[in-house]
């Protein structure tokens, strides 16, 4: 029975994969392909944020900063120094990663709530730098005319080409993250989220893992930024604000914090939904805010998550004494 189930899943996965690869060839709907490309970029962002915030439990609310750093790095290298995309994207990833480490280190001692607001502050500082450092970033005017990547003299400028580029990146990243989830490191990260002190006691080097997780999530955001910059061919500080960070966070929360599939789902939903609900576009952030609140009250584990419904034992502030005496065992980490 189990063997059959496994091969069933594989067939399903294979069919889905084939669909992803082949379907866009038959569609002349550029709008749809654009949406898929943006979804793909957002998936990178969401998976990165999920890794640090969902899986490792270090709430990062300045993720847009890494996104922006990657985008600006790549754009500036391409525009000012005519560096080919592949190298500028690599540089973007590196720069973002370095900042991830720099950010990770001072925040090591910080607990959830402190960490969250500190990352907001840091995100704001980075945004301020994008806005004010005119000589480099061109300030609020942004950077226009960012070239598309070219592979062996062929420009990958069309939507379709970009789609395949993003698809390849996504598959590689998702693949490595899924393997990570099942590995010792992946489980160690979950342990850090669930009970850092105990994790440390069990021999997990929490310091190194937290910094690494931060760095890796930043690298992913940096790559996403590079892809974004070349795709839109124009970036400005307004693309990398606190609202963007919150949107990314909502993607992760909606999908389920800690769930790798959840990040993908959340990114997809929150890329397509604003387009589908164009009529509400001016109220988008209000809706997001309310959605976040409602999610937290009604279904904090999102779609695929499982770790956020534990109640604190005993210490109930109001309500029946009988309920509060229950000690719920922690639910296993998300997939």
């Amino acid at each position: 029975m189990p063997v059959r189930a496994l091969s069933d899943r594989r067939v399903l996965a294979g069919a889905f994969g084939l669909l992803l690869v082949v379907a866009p060839l038959f569609s002349s709907n550029q709008y749809l392909i654009r949406l898929l490309v943006m979804s793909g970029i957002n998936i990178l962002l969401a998976m990165g944020l999920n890794l640090i915030s969902g899986v490792t439990g270090q709430l990062s609310m300045g993720h847009a900063a890494f996104y922006g750093m990657g985008a600006y790095t790549s754009a500036l290298l391409m525009l000012r120094l005519s560096v080919p995309f592949w190298f500028s994207a690599l540089a973007a990833a590196l720069v973002a990663g370095v900042f991830g480490v720099l950010l990770g280190i001072p925040t090591l001692r910080l607990r959830g709530d402190y960490l969250a607001i500190t990352t907001v502050g840091l995100g704001e500082i980075v945004h301020l730098i994008f806005l004010n450092w005119d000589s480099v970033t061109n300030g609020p005017l942004g950077l226009p005319g960012i070239p598309a990547p070219s592979l062996m003299r062929v420009q990958l400028g069309s939507n379709l080409a970009y789609y395949y580029l993003v698809l390849v990146v996504d598959v590689l990243v998702a693949g490595s993250l899924f393997r990570l989830a099942r590995s010792r490191v992946g489980r160690a990260l979950i342990a850090i989220r669930d009970d850092e002190l105990t994790a440390e006691t069990m021999g997990i080097d929490t310091t190194r893992l937290k910094v690494t997780a931060f760095a890796f999530s930043a690298v992913l955001a940096g790559v996403a930024g590079a892809l974004f910059a070349s795709y839109m061919s124009f970036i400005s500080p307004e693309n990398f604000t606190y609202s963007e960070s919150v949107t990314m966070l909502l993607m992760v929360v909606l999908g389920g914090m800690g769930s790798y599939w959840g990040a993908i789902a959340g990114a997809g939903i929150l890329t397509i939904a604003p387009e589908a609900l164009r009529v509400l576009s001016e109220w988008r952030m209000v809706v997001y805010g309310v959605a976040l609140v409602v999610l937290m009250i009604v279904r904090p584990q999102g779609l695929f998550g499982s770790g956020f419904t534990e109640k604190k034992p005993v210490k109930k502030i109001k309500g029946k004494a009988s309920e509060s005496a229950e000690l719920k065992a922690p639910v296993g980490g998300g997939d």
């Binding site: 709430l59 402190y114 966070l249 805010g289 937290m296 604190k312 502030i317």
Partner: protein, 290 residues
């Protein structure tokens, strides 16, 4: 010049202190970093902007009305939203507060537009002149009002029953409840007081800068966090100290170093304190029990 900046710093510091007090009190009682703190009073101030225009409200009345609106809004949020999350993992309440903040900010943008609206001030431009320094009537008023409120808060927290209940709940919620403290009332009272003080601060802020805009609560919330951590989060004297120091640091820093990155000063202080002495100047070092 120096004296002017000093007065400037003290005046802004007193506003920051009021905001920080509300913020730190909420943290002390329910351990929530209230992302929506600034946005609550922002909403009250923006409402006053509308009322000033449409209902020809006398300006001095906004000093009474905004606190009431902010306090009421704070309690409403506590009752509708935070109440359900008191027993959930802390991150849930934190994220809910983020959601509330985002919703309030963008709702305000929808209602009033993103642009900065002018806000009149009391005693427009009138000032005492001491040699080359000018100290405006408004600044003196701000200092007197804010410190007066802080004194009143101190009395409230030390002498009244609800105040003692607040301190008890902040120290140990479970035991306070066992001792008969009405903790839910304490929670609502904390939000109400925080809102009231925020409302007063917000109006003063609007008068001082002659401006009101939907994002006016966002950065002050971050600064309140900085100031609270500086003074020792959860500590009331710490909040007053932190707010004051922040105000002075900003005024002097902006004047003598650079005015463009003024807001960054607060974050620099925050990072410094978190690295050097996370429990703050007047805070207690909490030992993590296993």
């Amino acid at each position: 010049m120096f004296l002017e900046q000093l007065v400037n710093g003290l005046a802004m510091g007193s506003i920051y202190a009021l905001i920080t007090l509300g913020f730190t009190m909420v943290y002390g009682v329910i351990r929530l970093v209230n992302f929506a703190h600034g946005d609550v009073y922002m909403f009250a101030v923006m409402a006053c902007v509308s009322l000033l225009a449409s209902a020809h409200l006398p300006l001095w009345m906004t000093l009474l009305l905004a606190p009431v609106i902010a306090g009421a809004l704070g309690v409403a949020l506590a009752w509708s939203t935070y109440r359900h999350l008191l027993n959930a993992p802390r991150i849930n309440m934190l994220l809910a507060a983020v959601g509330v903040a985002i919703a309030l900010e963008n709702l305000a943008i929808r209602l009033w537009g993103p642009q900065t609206q002018p806000f009149p001030s009391l005693w427009e431009g009138r000032a005492i002149v001491l040699g080359t320094t000018q100290i405006s009537y408004l600044q003196i008023f701000m200092l007197v009002l804010s410190y007066g409120i802080m004194l009143a808060l101190n009395l409230l927290v030390k002498k009244t029953k609800i105040g003692i209940a607040m301190r008890a709940s902040a120290e140990d919620m479970t035991t306070a409840r066992l001792m008969g403290a009405p903790v839910m009332q304490v929670v609502y009272a904390t939000f109400a007081i925080g809102g009231v003080m925020g409302g007063v601060a917000g109006i003063q802020f609007a008068m001082y800068y002659n401006a009101a805009y939907p994002m006016m609560g966002f950065v002050p919330t971050l600064k309140a966090f900085s100031a609270a951590v500086l003074g020792g989060i959860g500590s009331i004297p710490g909040a007053m100290l932190g707010g004051l120091v922040l105000g002075l640091a900003e005024a002097l820093g902006a004047a003598y170093i650079s005015s463009g990155y003024r807001d960054a000063i607060a974050f620099a202080i925050l990072i410094l304190i978190l690295l050097v002495r996370p429990s703050g100047v007047l805070g207690r070092s909490t030992v993590e029990k296993v």
